[in-house]
Symmetry: C2
């Protein structure tokens, strides 16, 4: 039985706590938690009297009470504790994002590479069947070589009360960013997981545009890919109602994912070849409007699906759905978008990690942000 | 009876010729045409034996045979002939775009302003009921203050054969641009007509990306408005099948126009006020999904609707649906997008007209473009 510990049971960690305690991850048991907050520790104790409770993460990691750890702390600490765990011979599963800045994530990946332990990341959205289907359609060549991508995710509405609920929220020091670091990491991961990594980014961010915060709450990013394809990525916490759609235009047509539907306008032949050889100026190739079946399920149990897969990877060697090392891609994208906006210039990928890190430190040092923090805990049920 | 002449009956001019000859514009008659091409003149002569035929525009303008002129020449000549006509005391209706560069369009507008004659522009898309409806929804405040715009028009697919059909096509010297000058002027006009003019643009253009041409055939433009709103405008002739949708996100919800439908996700209250005052972090305001009725008609007869309106404006003083002077806005937008791409930098609006003009001259001077020109005439029926 794999003995799991959780660092941080203030937010997402409570979800992990609950399904582990309910025995919903075969082959694993919840053995301990660590949290610096006494309220969080009380919460855990009242719900499961059999686990060990620690006031700090290091004590739990050193205790010998666990074989593997799930890290559900504020973002900055994800790679810090992953490194600490891996160095102690423990397996680790980090919440998203993999970190705030690529430099620290790279360090984590380097430690993981030589640790012999399993590092996973909570990209639970990868377990959704619709995402797997879209990825498979692209990877199998159905869409043809990608020409343009368009991912618009504006359904992350958050009120001012959300940002006021914790003093660390939406600050450079506390979170290291806004919508790119907190709400959109899944989207950034899916974007690169499905469409590949861009080669450069030109992004435009609104800092505190919709809320009294210092970090970005709206982003429009233009991206270019190594093959010359272009794309946009738009996200915000300021719009209501938002939308969520991904379009991929390839040499064989246009694919649109929205809600739980995939529509593919399939070109019967290569658009490029048709364009080159057609003798008619205005006619387009024959197009079929195809409704692509999406296998049912995959919703609702996404987090435990990732945890189960991570446990099976540790105990049976099953390949990971979300390798921890892959977390760096989304962080690179987020860093590049902020870097581009800060410098009002292009940001190449892979991101200039040192430059991003030093500019982030400047933002932290120059922060003049103050806000009324009620410190009210929010209900995270239903968040991702 | 207003006596109308047409300059250019090689392309769009043939449509105007046909409905004027058919008597479909009350109060007006087609009296003359001018075209430098003998084939075009033969075409006109064979279809209407009663009109005067001229080999050059100036002769027709000087002839006394017409009171008003429709200009359907290549783009560069639109303002040139409009100025020539207005200075001779003739009314003018120019095809879109108003010109290739804002500097020449401004000159046209200055002449028009003091001419006492009626200058119209063939923005026939303004007569479509769905466009008028969307504009009215924005102008009346239903959508609230605009936060973000998103106009994606990629259904302008053109094959290489289209570009090869005329030596002037898609060259800096012959057209002065690509999709922004030829296919998208209606979209640029609707964009500003409905959403207002941006204050600056950062655009990314692919020059000859999908075709063997020297001008832009794909554009992604990021725009910012005076009130801080943001937007994107994407267009290309290289995708099949393309899409055509306009989204406007305001303080009172999200409006989407696609095909002949308008969907409005209406927020029951101001999103900004809700965000500021809600005590819940994740909850969004109450949203109503509204299907907005679109009055029937307005399609198919758009060009003659503009021509009829222009004639009524001349004869009865009816306000113009599309003032010629407003044509400069779309030209400004197109110029700013090219300028931004050429300089790899922001372009402010109003555009730096002199800078754009001098860079365009450089492009013309440095053009090394050669193409196999079959010189085959294309069928323009069904184009806009």
């Amino acid at each position: 039985m794999l003995r799991i510990g959780i660092i941080g049971v203030g937010g997402m960690g409570r979800g992990h706590f609950t399904y582990l305690t309910a025995g919903e991850v075969p082959g694993a048991t919840l053995s301990a938690i660590a949290d610096t907050s006494s309220a969080a520790r009380e919460w855990a104790k009242s719900r499961n009297g059999n686990i060990q409770i620690f006031e700090d993460a290091e004590s739990m990691l050193d205790s010998g009470a666990i074989d593997a750890v799930m890290i559900a702390t504020p973002h900055y600490f994800h790679p810090v504790y992953a490194i600490a765990a891996l160095k102690r011979g423990l397996h680790a599963l980090v919440e998203k994002p993999a970190g705030v800045y690529a430099k620290q994530v790279r360090e984590m990946n380097e430690v993981a590479a030589t640790s012999g332990k399993v590092l996973g990341i909570m990209f639970n959205q990868r377990t959704r069947h619709i995402h797997q289907k879209v990825r498979q359609l692209v990877a199998s060549g159905e869409v043809g070589e990608i020409r343009r991508t368009q991912y618009i995710i504006t359904d992350w509405f958050r009120s001012q009360a959300y940002y006021d609920s914790g003093g660390w929220r939406a600050t450079w020091a506390g979170e290291g960013g806004g919508v790119l670091v907190n709400q959109s990491p899944h989207n950034l991961d899916l974007f690169q997981w499905i469409c590949g990594m861009p080669s450069r980014v030109r992004a435009f961010c609104g800092f505190g545009r919709f809320h009294r915060i210092e970090v970005e709450d709206s982003v429009t990013a233009y991206v270019e890919y190594p093959n010359g394809a272009t794309g946009i990525f738009i996200t915000t916490t300021g719009e209501a109602p938002g939308s969520n759609s991904l379009e991929i235009i390839g040499d064989r047509g246009r694919l649109r994912m929205e809600g739980n539907t995939i529509t593919f306008w399939r070109s019967r032949e290569s658009v490029r070849e048709f364009s080159d050889t057609s003798t008619e100026g205005f006619k387009q190739p024959e197009i079929w409007r195809c409704e692509i079946p999406v296998p049912g399920g995959g919703d609702g149990a996404e987090h435990r699906a990732i945890t189960r897969n991570w446990v099976k990877s540790i105990t049976e060697g099953t390949p990971l759905i979300a390798e921890g090392a892959e977390g760096i891609h989304g962080v690179q994208l987020a860093n590049a978008m902020l870097l581009s906006a800060w410098t009002d210039d292009w940001a190449d990928l892979p991101t200039d990690e040192e430059k991003f890190y030093s500019l982030l430190q400047e933002k932290i040092a120059n922060s003049s942000h103050e806000k009324s923090t009620g410190g009210k805990a929010l209900d995270f049920a239903g968040t991702f």
